[in-house]
């Protein structure tokens, strides 16, 4: 094996590894729980994350939505008060899962995203 061939092989291996690491990091899905368990004003919600299909969150329940990558995401829904809510949030770095509580959402302010343990591990 000559030097040129060795360099090409090493470069290919490095590119392969970098691509795998990138795909793993950028595509990693994290569970985001939309907590609608506050029963003071029970309302069914329809939540849209990153412009994807709306997900229904029943009153008095929480719903798990998978978000791709620990990066910025958008959330939009109609709050129980009737106000439209559309904000961006950053998934907490290092967290395995996160939670957004519907009663804590106020129009004009970023959502509070709490790192939590995945439900199956609790």
């Amino acid at each position: 094996m000559n030097l040129r061939s060795l360099v090409v092989k090493i470069t290919l291996a490095v590119v392969y590894l970098v691509l795998a690491v990138w795909a793993y990091g950028a595509g990693k899905g994290y569970p985001l729980y939309i907590d609608n368990t506050d029963l003071s004003k029970p309302t069914m919600l329809s939540v849209v994350i990153d412009g994807k299909s709306p997900v229904r969150v029943r009153e008095g329940a929480y719903t798990e939505i998978m978000v791709k990558g620990a990066r910025k995401h958008t959330i939009s829904l109609v709050l129980p008060s009737g106000a439209e809510y559309r904000e961006t949030f950053r998934f907490p770095a290092g967290a395995q899962a996160a939670e957004i509580r519907v009663p804590e959402l106020a129009p004009g302010s970023d959502p509070v995203v709490r790192p939590v343990l995945p439900r199956q591990d609790r």
Partner: protein, 370 residues
Amino acid sequence: MRNVKSFVADNIVTLIFLTITIIAIPFSGLSGSYIISNLIDRFARSSFLVFALILPIMAGMGINFAMVLGATAGQIGLIFAVDHNIMGTEGLILATLVGIPLSVGLGWFSGQVLNRARGREMVTGFILGYFMDGIYQFFGLYIMGWLIPIRTAQVMQIDGGGVRNTLALESVRGGLDKIVSLKVGPFSIPVVTFAVIAVLCLFIIWFRRTKLGQDMRAIGQEQGISHAAGINVDRTRILAIVISTVLACIGQIIYLQNLGNMFTYTSQRQAGYYAAAAILVGGATVSKASIKNVFIGVFLVHALYITTPLAGKALFKSAMVGQYMSDFINYGIIASALVLHAWKNKRAADLARAGLRMSAEAQAAAGGVA
């Protein structure tokens, strides 16, 4: 007249399929737009997989039934991506990156075995597929969850050991098809998937013209002469199988991301049967195949899959009979194509032998007169 006869004889399998499909369309009661829309979707789903068979045919190894090994590698990649919650296109990229080294290893192994079974490659590849099935089941049911931990409950069997029989691939579903989806009237066209298929076509056209491609074609025609001409026959045959296995791995990932679910222990087997049926229906033989054969075959097999279950249901008043009819025709065609090929080969050999005998007799007679 002779031209028509020869055309029919050369394309008998394709013509039978075309006739059955044309007859089935009105009986199925399906609209043209429904059939076209389904054809576009299925075309994007399975064309790549069928391309995996071209190179081994070119190298004279017949239909590579051992492509099942590549499909298995692709499935292992997908299990890994789903288990680690890697979503969308990135999940497919990761599955491919995991599957490729596995498929290269399996392809090399398969090539080594097929080189030792020269002349009986197809049946050997078929049995290799079953052999791999056993290893894969052992890996999926016992090694996974024991030596290799399973992280996600949706992937694990309910009793806690091994991978489930059916896996939902929701996290990677449409990871390729939905990157750019073009809406043309009632039809949705997965642009990126078609671009990937187009790139593969260009690769095959380019590859045929390379030194390695020319070597494969030479070996496909005559191994003895190729060896005498200095071509490393064994190595070239192994390379044909390795490339085919890698393409089968990628093809299976594309196929499954379109379907959105996976029968963990049987999907790979279906891939092998389906690809073989498609390329034969497209007019390929075990010694000659082209890109055109892939396109025609995929189109006809899927047209049959879409229409015959409903046509059978309408004709026999039973949905089950319709489904059986479609499978019966499909796999019957594989058998007929292989038998026809064997018959043609035998007939050509008999004719050549008779020709030689006649010329020898004529020479002897001429010598006697002289």
